[in-house]
């Protein structure tokens, strides 16, 4: 049907730097485009985009669409969706990927609604494969398998969009790996005239104030993570985790249950399908039972230690070391022996 059409990634940027999540999607997009035998395209919408393509080409981008206008930065929903919708009507991409960020999750649904193309949020894996409709028996080659957890992470569903294009998916930061394809790769740039793609009425929402604070928590890049769950019992319980983390030079993470219970108020620390995906050298899970949605966000950790008073906690099955006991007794002992041995 539309097998010759390309794969496009909506790229976010801030302060002149393309977002990690966009580069991660380009890395994945390059592999998928090669498998499909199509081009990898990128679209960047904003202001002061000079040279931004040079950050994209090394990821194997064949074509960069740039739409520049002072009013297009910072992001607002209507102008960006208008541009994406109008461009997609022209170029008819077969696949569109966006970051599952506050921008991608605002823009994606609007675009998919207007184009009547399916959108799958927060995919954890993307693959190309065939599909036969179980009712009609109609066969489709080379569809995008959009694989995502559902139902609180207890199941993983493979979603396909057999008939509508583009096949759209969002992916959270950190889920895909960012990898340079070829440092010398050179694609083309197409500058689009913003006025042809967005009308005045789209600028109806005005940003009147913006306080951007760079997150102080850098859990994604920490090589040691001490994470607490519902079993920590209280905010005071989390203080103990911070002490262990300070001792080890680690960051503190939390399960969704601990965040929901208010034991940890910093949502940036949430690990799991609806939080951050991490791959540290060492993951110390304290009082975490190990709901699937949590394990999905940390299962690639090199070494996992689980401290839990329930010997049957599901997380123990994926742990390298299981410490059976109460966190409030075990953690001070770990701190003590670390201090003793590091002298």
């Amino acid at each position: 049907m539309t097998d010759n059409y390309n794969l496009i990634v909506y790229c976010e940027y801030d302060e002149g730097k393309v977002a990690d999540v966009s580069l991660e999607l380009l890395t994945k997009g390059r592999k998928l485009a090669t498998e499909l035998g199509v081009k990898l395209e990128a679209i960047v919408i904003g202001d002061k985009l000079e040279g931004i393509e040079n950050q994209l080409f090394p990821y194997g981008v064949d074509l960069v669409y740039k739409v520049e206008d002072a009013r297009l930065y910072p992001y607002t929903s209507l102008p960006h969706s208008s541009i994406v919708i109008n461009l997609f009507r022209e170029i008819k991409p077969q696949i569109c990927l966006m970051g599952a960020t506050t921008i991608g999750r605002d823009l994606g649904p609007r675009v998919s609604s207007c184009l009547h193309s399916g959108l799958t949020a927060d995919c954890t894996s993307l693959e190309i494969g065939d599909h036969t409709d179980p009712k009609t028996g109609k066969h489709y080659d080379n569809l995008l398998y959009q694989i995502r957890p559902a139902f609180g992470g207890n199941i993983v569903a493979t979603i396909v969009n057999p008939d509508c294009r583009p096949q759209m998916a969002t992916v959270r930061e950190g889920v895909m790996k960012k990898e340079i394809f070829d440092a010398n790769y050179k694609g083309e740039v197409v500058n689009l005239d913003a006025k042809k793609y967005v009308d005045e009425e789209s600028f109806v929402v005005k940003i009147i104030d913006r306080h951007i604070e760079k997150s102080k928590v850098n859990i994604k890049n920490s090589s040691i993570i001490v994470a607490g769950g519902y079993g920590m019992g209280s905010k005071e319980g989390f203080d103990m985790l911070f002490e262990l983390a300070d001792t080890l030079g680690a960051e503190v993470g939390a399960s969704r249950a601990a965040i929901d219970a208010g034991y940890c108020e910093d949502h940036d620390r949430q690990i799991g399908q609806t939080g951050v995906t991490v791959r540290p050298k060492l993951y110390i899970a304290c009082g975490i039972s190990g709901q699937i949605q949590h394990i999905a966000g940390m299962q690639e950790s090199a070494i996992v230690i689980s401290i839990n008073n329930d010997p049957n906690a599901p997380i123990n099955s994926i742990a390298d070391y299981v410490i059976n006991g109460d966190v409030e007794q075990v953690i001070p002992r770990l701190i003590k022996y670390y201090k003793k041995n590091s002298k």
Binding site: T102, V205, Q291, N316
Partner: protein, 290 residues
């Protein structure tokens, strides 16, 4: 100034507390084992609507929920907190809808309702976590959207909305009407009000009324405010091609139960101090820590 406020809410299985009996032996979900609750962020949305109504007496709050007939429970919970009335959009033709077909049905119901100045919904529902229906409803109604809202004020026909983003806070101004999706970090919803529980405990949809004893049903008949609406796809003149499974561009190819590869783990007793020290020494020796 009084406003016609619509709140979109969903009754969801409580996926946050999935116990051992929630999965059947064959790996499918035992929905009966999961309690049905008011989607948490929709309660945050309701609170924003209630605050707007508090500041603008004469405003009305209409709850709109799509789901099974029993989703009327969500409407009663809202009435107990200060909402005025509600509609359950329920029809077999709407079953199996993905977010696009869902937003079509909801947008069509809102058009059928006719009057709306501001539409609130939670950021996302905990059974799917997609955050798509709010923006898709906005697009289908041709309205602007403001997502990730933490607080909303309305003055001079404009909404001033503070949004919680990954990197900080942004305040935007948008003329009415609009769709606002509210974050879990916004004000928690006020508790039920005892007087309103008394007033609305017999608020029922037509199908629920049919199941009531005659004297209770007669009481409902006498009081207009106890009559909740139940709309079908035909009632809102929805195009069935765009509803339910038929109207969903995304199809579920397959679903698998999640199983993680188990590792062989070394077990240490928490009271075995020598064992804990040996673990620390091992981790230091291999430069994992230290």
């Amino acid at each position: 100034m009084s406003y016609n406020i619509v709140v979109l809410a969903k009754q969801v299985p409580d996926t946050r507390n999935v116990g051992k009996d929630a999965m059947k032996a064959d790996g499918t979900i035992n929905r009966a084992a999961l309690p049905a609750i008011f989607n948490p962020e929709d309660l945050n949305a309701l609170e924003q609507a209630l605050q707007l109504k508090d500041k603008n007496p004469g405003s009305t709050i209409t709850l709109l929920t799509m789901g099974l007939p029993k989703a009327a429970e969500v409407i009663r919970e809202s009435l107990y907190r200060g909402a005025d009335t509600g509609i359950v959009l329920t029809d077999r033709a709407l079953a199996g809808a993905d977010t696009l077909a869902t937003s079509y049905a909801i947008a069509t119901a809102i058009k059928h309702l006719g009057k709306y100045d501001i539409i609130f919904g939670g950021r996302q529902a905990i059974d799917g976590d997609t955050a798509q229906v709010g923006p898709q409803v906005a697009e289908k109604l041709g309205l602007p959207q403001v997502t990730y809202a933490e607080s909303v004020k309305v003055e001079d026909g404009k909404a001033i909305v503070t949004r919680r983003l990954e990197s900080g806070v942004e305040t935007v101004e948008c003329p009415l009407p609009l769709v606002v999706t509210v974050n879990g970090s916004a004000d928690a919803c006020r508790p039920r009000n005892a007087r309103l529980i008394q007033k609305y405990k017999y608020a029922v949809t037509p199908s629920e009324k049919a199941a009531l004893p005659a004297e209770k049903a007669a009481l409902v008949d006498k009081r207009e405010f106890l009559n909740l609406k139940e709309w079908s796809a035909a009632e809102i003149e929805a195009d069935l091609e765009q509803c339910g499974l038929a109207g969903s561009p995304t199809k579920v190819k397959n679903v698998v139960n999640v199983v993680f590869a188990a590792k062989e783990s070394k077990v240490i007793d928490g009271n075995d101090e020598a064992g804990l020290e040996a673990l620390i020494q091992d981790l230091m020796a291999e430069h994992t820590i230290g």
